[in-house]
């Protein structure tokens, strides 16, 4: 025993007492059933000597210093956009009654968490104008995958149509997750404005056997899709489910999936009050229309309203017969752990902003992104697609982007995501001040 006292191992000083209560004289007896041949021959070598908390913090700070300190968040989006995270959000998810809780299996002592999840579902339902929302999945990519697997289950078909302008990371996840079930993912091209080609979509649909049509709003080029009614209609006509992937942040000003009549909506709550966290945890949402076959086939946990034995309004996990711990291989998904705490962050964020704040924020973001785009054009860059955009936009430079990028870095800033030799996807939000946008554009101007 190398340790005699440790803050996280309270019983080191009680080993003797506990052993005698058990009736053993050596700790080894606890492992009498483990064959000697698989017992560790020498101790594990992990993480060096135990560090005191102070030393842990010092080690972490040492690593922090190895990260480059940027002047402001990167102009990077592509599935994870920097936004300001309110202190109240951090405060609420820092309440350890929430973050040290398990899935609320015992509703009587978990009403707070259950109510919060019900409220999360309810907020998302209003935002999406869809009736049923689960209490979160891992991220956009996995939510999309679950939606497609559900469409496969519901329709029995294997073809899935997605736009060429799908986020490529989501596409990769989709392919991985659906590979085992033999789903085939096909891509639909886009037009000169950067919008999904409805003609091409119709052509592919008419070939038949399509389980689902997926669209993304805004799409990977940052462009807002304008003809989504047609997508829903066409999908319906051909017996396919319609799935809309949407950045929920835009819904303060943009038409929600429910208004179009989409069967399923998915996306990520990352832009609603989550730190970037180097890409995770994020929080996938999953919503369906009020239709039995969809509700019964949807994955993930759902909290519903009910009453207790004294008639008080209360909350509980519902439709558990869909889930793996009861249905096993017949479950609608294998998911257990979700992203409840991140869903809570979404809820707190939205409740702080409210309808007015969300709309104002959307307007402010659009102003700033359009300001940045205009300034970039003024110094000689171009925007290849003319569709309206929200916070992201594709920029083409006359110079090589690697040079542009480097110059931007020299100002302590970080440019957009390189897509080809001359283009990059830029993201501008409320965390990018006019000042920093100007600095970035100045740097760009120098290499034009």
């Amino acid at each position: 025993m190398g340790l005699t006292r440790h803050p996280w191992l309270p019983n080191l000083g009680s080993v003797g007492e506990m052993m005698s209560s058990i009736g053993i004289s050596s700790l080894d007896q606890l492992f009498s059933d483990v064959p000697q041949s698989v017992r560790l021959k020498k101790p594990l070598n992990v993480a060096g000597k135990p560090l005191s908390e102070q030393e842990i913090v010092r080690r972490l700070e040492e690593l922090e210093r190895k990260n480059t300190q940027l002047v402001c968040p990167p102009f990077l989006g592509a599935g994870a956009c920097p936004h300001y995270v309110p202190q109240a959000v951090k405060f609420v998810i820092g309440r350890s009654e929430f973050y040290t809780a398990y899935t609320p299996y015992q509703p009587e002592v978990s009403q707070g968490l259950l109510q919060a999840m019900f409220e999360y579902q309810s907020y998302m339902a209003e935002l999406l104008e869809m009736e049923v929302v689960n209490s979160s999945l891992y991220d956009w990519g996995s939510a999309l995958s679950e939606a497609v697997l559900m469409a496969h289950r519901v329709t029995g078909r294997r073809r899935v149509l997605v736009p060429e302008t799908i986020n490529p990371f989501h596409l990769q996840v989709l392919k991985t997750w659906t590979y085992g079930r033999g789903v085939v993912v096909e891509r639909i091209p886009f037009d000169h404005r950067g919008l999904l080609s409805i003609e091409a979509l119709e052509a592919e649909l008419s070939k038949g056997e399509v389980a689902a049509v997926y669209v993304q709003q805004p799409n990977f080029l940052g462009v807002l899709e304008e003809e989504l009614e047609s997508v829903v209609e066409l999908a319906k006509k051909h017996g396919a489910l319609s799935i809309m992937g949407v950045n929920p942040l835009v819904l303060g000003v943009v038409r929600p999936p429910g208004e179009y009549g989409f069967d399923v909506a998915v996306g990520d709550g990352q832009e609603l009050g989550l730190s970037l966290n180097y890409g995770g945890p994020m929080v996938g949402f999953f919503a369906v229309r009020w239709e039995g076959r969809l509700v019964r086939q949807m994955p993930g946990r759902i909290v519903g309203l009910t009453t207790d034995s004294e008639g008080r309004q209360s909350y509980a996990l519902v439709l558990q017969t869909r889930e793996q711990f009861t249905r096993r291989e017949k479950a609608t998904s294998n998911i257990t752990t979700n992203e409840a705490l991140m869903a809570l962050a979404n809820l707190v964020y939205l409740s702080l902003l409210g309808p007015n704040g969300l709309r104002e924020l959307d307007e402010e973001i659009m102003s700033r992104s359009h300001y940045a785009a205009r300034k970039l054009r003024e110094v000689g860059a171009s925007l290849p697609y003319s569709g309206e955009f929200f916070e992201e936009f594709l920029v083409r430079f006359p110079a090589r982007y690697s040079k542009v990028k480097e110059r931007i870095r020299s100002r302590g800033l970080h440019g957009g995501l390189q897509l080809d030799e001359n283009s990059a996807l830029f993201c501008v939000t409320e965390v990018h001040s006019k000042d920093n946008i100007d600095k970035m554009v100045e740097a760009v101007a120098e290499v034009m």
Binding site: L3, V92, F98, L113, E126, S309, E388
Partner: protein
């Protein structure tokens, strides 16, 4: 508290967060075809109202920081507070930043890949999986692709009948047929039966060891040999690793793939259901199939340079739940080698100590007696059920009234009226004593006043719930929107 829903707040013209305004003359509107038409039906709240609401809700939630959460197979450890400080390392990093700007993050991930490989006895780990079930999916897909690469179609995935429900669910998601392997009279995999089942269509065997009864599979080497003899792969469900960390390693037992739940064994907080963090580790020819890329180190600098040749591809949108991986990193720094090597011993000691305090409790039965448990133990209240009609759920609710969270109940399915208890090495001996007393007390009360137990919990914010109402198509209410539309008469019964 009876805290109203946010939707029941009535304020007007309020905001809880001001939006900054930058003076740029580029106000644009979204095209009218795309513009939202209906007003957002969300409440308007000041910052005070939001904060107060959630403080009150938090006080109606129970977590490890409030008291013991002895949920079996969930490994609800104490989450050291230093972990919260740790998240600063990753908080503001964008997943697509140039690698030279996130060397600190990458170094941390690199260390974690290696440490977890050492702990499991695997060669390489991917941290991309956000939690256990995604890790399982990755694992079964790896097996699928492996066999396909050989030009074989293997249809069967073997699963122990005591396995976590995720195992068969994951196998099914990957398109496998699930074949259950029964548990024998000792509570272990029926090895004789297994040998009969294994054959050319066997893709692999998903197993956890110690199993969900808390028992170590003694025949593990023979099991591995049997699976490997048909070129099947042995998959380790890491949910139960805590009982043997520092004592034995899956890699040394013959496992080929291991998934880990960092939110169980490595103290990432459970977050009320999530987010967790996971790892999927492999050795031998399975390394090439890991989800990629992995962090590599060249000349002292770190990058996403290691791409497994036959990777099943991306399982998460970015790099997994890095913001939680760093919490495990801090935890491992604090334990160090000395601490890690004691995890299995101390958690197993805690379980067996609890058992020593629960001997001869009337109505409580220990199935498969006579063997030491590891991280958890499963009891059955079948004797009490038969004698007086007491159910496992009744016992659970009785424990709630005594200030404890309940154990996992009705799992594993091979034990009737089961209570699956895991205390972990972070609970002080005195908490275990109190829990044992509380459980004893519930059983005692049941025999003297069954009705009282059946009516529990009484000291919680609500009493037992109406699940029929919660789930019935005519009353099912998953959102406030459904409640509102139903009250307006514009919603049909769910068909």
């Amino acid at each position: 508290w009876e805290e109203p829903l946010l939707f029941q707040y009535k304020g007007k013209n309020r905001v809880g967060l001001a939006v900054p305004r930058e003076d740029v003359n580029d106000r644009v509107e979204v095209p009218s075809s795309v513009k939202r038409r209906n007003p957002l039906e969300l409440p308007e709240l000041s910052e005070l109202e939001v904060v107060r609401h959630f403080i009150r809700l938090s006080q109606m939630s129970y977590g490890v920081d409030v008291g013991m959460v002895p949920l079996g197979s969930c490994t609800m450890k104490y989450n050291p507070k230093v972990q919260e400080a740790a998240s600063k390392l990753t908080e503001n990093a964008h997943p697509l930043q140039d690698e030279d700007t996130v060397q600190g993050v990458l170094e941390m991930l690199y260390d974690m890949q290696n440490w977890l490989a050492e702990i499991t006895g695997m060669e390489q780990c991917s941290l991309q999986v956000p939690a256990g079930s995604a890790g399982e999916l990755a694992g079964v897909l790896m097996m699928k692709k492996y066999h396909e690469d050989k030009g074989e179609t293997r249809t069967d995935m073997l699963v122990a009948d005591s396995a976590h429900g995720t195992n068969p669910a994951s196998a099914a998601m990957a398109g496998f047929k699930v074949v259950y392997v029964k548990t024998d009279h000792r509570g272990l995999v029926d090895y004789g039966l297994l040998k009969e089942i294994v054959g050319p269509s066997t893709a692999g065997f998903m197993l956890t060891n110690p199993n969900t009864l808390g028992l170590f599979e003694e025949n593990i080497l023979e099991i591995a040999d049997t699976i490997h003899s048909v070129d099947g792969k042995l998959y380790y469900d890491g949910a139960n690793l805590n009982g043997i960390v520092g004592v034995a390693r899956p890699g040394d037992m013959g496992f080929d793939i291991v998934h880990l739940n960092l939110h169980k064994t490595f103290a990432v907080p459970h977050g009320g259901g999530g987010p967790g963090a996971g790892a999927i580790c492999a050795k031998g020819d399975m390394v090439d199939y890991l989800p990629g890329p992995l962090v590599g180190r060249v000349d002292g600098s770190y990058s996403w340079s290691m791409e497994p040749h036959r990777s099943i591809g991306r399982i998460a949108t970015f790099h997994g739940n890095v913001g939680n991986v760093v919490r495990s990193f801090a935890y491992l720094l604090g334990l160090g080698s000395d601490g890690v090597n004691m995890l299995g011993v101390m958690s197993t000691l805690a379980t067996n100590y609890l058992m020593s305090r629960l001997q001869d409790v009337r109505g409580l039965q220990l199935p498969f007696p006579g063997r030491p448990r590891k991280h958890e133990v499963v009891y059955s209240v079948t004797p009490a059920y038969n004698e007086i009609g007491l159910t496992a759920e009744d016992v659970a609710k009785g424990l709630l009234d005594r200030g404890f969270y309940a154990p996992t109940i009705y799992f594993p399915p091979i034990v009737q009226e089961s209570l699956m208890i895991e205390v972990t090495e972070t609970e002080p001996k005195e908490s275990i004593d109190e829990f044992a007393r509380a459980l004893y007390d519930v059983m005692r009360e049941a025999y003297s006043d069954l009705k009282a137990v059946k009516q529990s919990p009484k000291r919680t914010s609500v009493s037992r719930l109406d699940y029929v109402k919660a789930n019935h198509p005519s009353t099912f209410t998953p959102t406030f929107r459904v409640k509102r539309l139903r009250e307006e008469g514009s919603l049909q019964v769910l068909k």
